[in-house]
């Protein structure tokens, strides 16, 4: 194959996989025509599911597989994709980075569209630096940490990072902006603008999300993404070369790659075009030693060489490639980091003491310790949730649980018959349950309690039964009883006041969400009583545990 063709094959592959990633990202939400697949709607119990395999890229990601295997001792569904990719890498090198990785493609585009540095300075920028070892340090920290029970891989895994950034920051930011524009148009007196608003919203919201999506700390997620993109101005594909732990993992696995760069020093005129276009700073120039583990197999050097001094060839010799240049410090630092972080992570007391009352996990979530071992913080559950209740945590779950999902009931509520989040979780941190299971077991995520000082009927400020009306269990966990309450002029009066039956409450939070007392509602849900935890129980139940 000629070099030019190889480069074009690469570009087509990059475009395809970036497109596929964006398509699956957009499809990670309940569509408005969710009903279309359900012709049996009249008779059966249904679980609405997404129609696309939205977890594909997570299954393909060996870092997701390895970290959840090391940390949670479980094989994620569809892990053979990742296994297959590792096998491929073993023989062909880091072609994932240049042919498939959507984040890599975005970096590639950003550093290609407007390169900050040109000419000879680019050649210099594309030389290998000791900074390249940072990614090995990060990888070792992550994997050793995972082995010790702290799984932070998702924070910097490229697939999780990209999904989280786009799903929780970029798309909602654009979507809410457009929605505001449509609202202005809808409020206009001109009929044409009204229709345009309606049509525009119908067109845009399936892509950017329905309504006013909000995610806590999304600004921070977006900021990090912008910084990572900006780093391309310092050096092309800064992220891939210096920070990406998945790239480091694939670099290590490219040891036996049979696809090798052959250099012909005799024909080389030392023009350095190969170095100038090298994406990975892998020293492609004749005279330098080719860094197999740094090479992204983008075939740019092959394409750039005017003399034909470079070529990629399959060589079936048993001789293995250079071991990646990690440096002793990166390895030792990684070991120290990997051992100390899990120990430090326990110090905020989440594992051995009572958890934060606001830490309400999605229905079907594993017990906290197991949950943290496999959750990738990718944001897929948050994107899929139809009520926008699932949000990234900041400090609620401690350092170890930063950006893991939790439910903020003032922002949404967990719909009683909805089990979508568990069906999309790539690692099974939220197990897939059916609506029947959720209702009949039941799966309890917390319990509601009433603040009588704020509650309208309890404080004698008038009738209100919103929480009771909306309580979805049968019989209702919130019931009303006539009681004497203090009236407006301190005279006793008969009020119909709500009570919570702890034996029935599942913590769905619709009461908190719809309570007319906004901000800090008169009825709130806390995590106590969640069925996934043996410790966090309130009531004495029949079985001894």
């Amino acid at each position: 194959v000629r070099a030019k063709h190889l480069v074009w094959i690469r570009r087509i592959s990059q475009a395809f996989f970036l497109g596929l990633f964006l398509f699956l990202l957009v499809e990670s939400r309940l569509p408005e025509d969710a009903y279309l697949q359900y012709s049996l709607v009249f008779s059966s119990d249904l679980d609405l599911r997404l129609s696309q395999p939205v977890t594909f890229f997570f299954q393909l990601d060996p870092l997701v597989w390895l970290s959840s295997l090391l940390s949670g001792h479980r094989l994620i569904q569809g892990f053979w994709w990742a296994l297959g990719l590792l096998m491929l890498t073993l023989f062909l090198g880091r072609i994932f980075c240049s042919f498939i990785c959507p984040l890599g493609t975005i970096h590639h585009i950003v550093s290609w569209v407007r390169p900050a540095i040109r000419g000879n300075r680019m050649t210099l920028a594309n030389q290998k630096t000791p900074g390249h070892r940072i990614k090995y340090f990060l990888l070792i920290t992550l994997l050793v940490g995972a082995g010790m029970g702290l799984n932070l891989a998702g924070l910097i895994d490229p697939i999780s990072l990209l999904f989280r950034s786009l799903a929780l920051a970029v798309l909602p930011a654009i979507g809410v902006g457009l929605k505001e524009l449509f609202d202005v148009m809808a409020a206009s007196d001109m009929k044409v603008l009204n229709y345009m608003s309606y049509g525009g919203e119908a067109l845009v919201s399936p892509v950017f999300g329905y309504g006013y999506l909000a995610y806590k700390t999304a600004w921070f997620i977006g900021l990090i993404f912008l910084v990572i993109l900006f780093l391309n101005r310092i050096r092309p594909r800064f992220w891939c070369r210096i920070l990406c732990p998945l790239g480091a993992l694939l670099g290590i696995f490219s040891r036996f790659s049979i696809l090798r760069l052959e250099k012909d020093e005799a024909t080389c005129t030392d023009c350095k075009l190969c170095s100038r276009r090298c994406q990975g700073a892998a020293s492609p120039m004749p005279g330098q030693t080719w860094e197999n583990a740094e090479c992204l197999s983008c075939f740019n050097c092959f394409d750039a060489c005017p003399e034909g001094a470079l070529s990629f060839r399959f060589r079936w010799s048993p001789k293995s490639n250079r071991w990646p240049d990690m440096g002793r410090r990166a390895v030792l630092g990684g070991l120290v980091g990997g051992i100390s972080l899990p120990l430090l992570g326990q110090l905020d007391g989440r594992a051995h003491h009572v958890s934060d009352p606001r830490l309400i996990r999605p229905p079907g979530a594993l017990p906290e310790e197991d949950f943290l071992r496999v959750c990738q913080r990718c944001g897929l559950c948050m994107k899929a949730c139809p009520t926008n209740v699932i949000n990234p945590t900041l400090a609620e779950a401690g350092m170890a649980g930063f950006w893991t999902p939790h439910l903020i009931m003032t922002q949404g509520y967990c719909e009683y018959t909805c089990t979508l989040c568990g069906s999309v979780c790539p690692t099974g941190a939220i197990t897939e349950i059916s609506a029947r299971e959720k209702i009949e077991r039941p799966i309890i995520i917390g319990v509601a309690y009433i603040n009588r000082g704020r509650c309208l009927p309890w404080s004698g400020n008038g009738p209100c039964i919103v929480c009771q009306e909306l309580c979805p269990t049968s019989p209702k966990a919130i019931y009303l009883r006539k009681e004497i309450v203090p009236g407006p002029d301190h005279s006793p009066m008969l009020g119909n006041v709500p009570h919570v039956d702890l034996k029935r409450c599942v913590g769905c939070g619709i009461c908190e969400h719809k309570c007319p007392v906004r901000g800090r509602p008169a009825i709130r849900v806390i995590a106590a009583g969640e069925s996934r935890s043996l410790k966090n129980q309130i009531l004495l139940t029949g079985s001894v545990s």
Binding site: L30, P31, E32, D33, A34, Y35, L36, Y38, S39, V41, F42, S43, S44, D45, L46, L48, K179, F182, D183, M185, A186, A187, S197, Y198, E201, Y210, G211, Y212, P386, T387, E415, Y416, T417, C418, I439, L456, G462, P463, C464, I465, V466, Q468, E469, L470, C471, P472, T473, S474, P475, K476, L480, N496, K514, C515, P516
Partner: protein
Amino acid sequence: MDLNYPLTRRQSLKKIAQISASLAGAALGACPLLSQGLAKASTAGKGFIVEGIGSKQDYNIKDLAGKVFEAAGGIGQFVSRGDVVVIKPNVSWARRPALAATTNPEVVEAVIELCLDAGAKKVRIADHTIHDARRCFALTGVGIVAKRTGADLVFPRSSLMKRMKLHGHRLDVWPVFVPLVEADKVINLPVAKVHELSTLTLGMKNWIGGVGGRRNALHQDIHQSIVDLSRFFNPTLTLIDATRIMISNGPSGGSPSDVAVKNTLILSNDQVAADAKAAALFGYDPGEIGFIHFGQKWGLGTYDSQKLIQQRVVL
């Protein structure tokens, strides 16, 4: 037309047309002719109530709905060729139809087909649901009904909620779900359920699903709010789906034991009368239910069935 109440755009256009027509008529000296025409229109608007009961084991809901409309003089009486009809079911909860938390999709389908047979240009289904609308429309079956019949599903969106003057006794300005106002004919299609605060939720209370805004505050004066909203929306027809009714744990239900099968449809052009008839299915005296009582008091309709043309259909 009562000018104390807000006009929709269509109504105001009609009104302007009427005024200019009457001015033109006055100029031609044809006043007596016009007033004759108006008098005729008011007799045609007499209240009626039709109760349809499916007594046979395997009665067909569509046939029953057809018979009920026939008894009321045929759907053609209410829906004209070229009309845009909006149907307001109660599909507030993402629950399967058998749990009676939502309007029976077969009834919705029957009514849409009748409207289309009558020559309606477009039929829309609109509801501002409590649960997520996508899940509600899917699980309650109205989504698939819309697909089968070609009706439009209108999703509640903030841009479709417009602040309008309700001129109610309690509610003045409130965000209204626009598609329910911008139609030629409005058919209210609620399901009959119990409710802790308003005792029952029937046709009139279904209009809480027709507005946006701080709906959870309406409960602080529920009966008057219901009457204000019913007066504002003023549907062409109310068809109460009592094929299955919810007798306990309302309005969300959730268990088959909360449901009673009544195989009944109640059709009326009088909102108060329809609700009163449905209240009897639960064993209530209509006068003791606040919003029915207020509805009559404020002249929305009557629960005195003697004042109405009554029909009964048994299938």
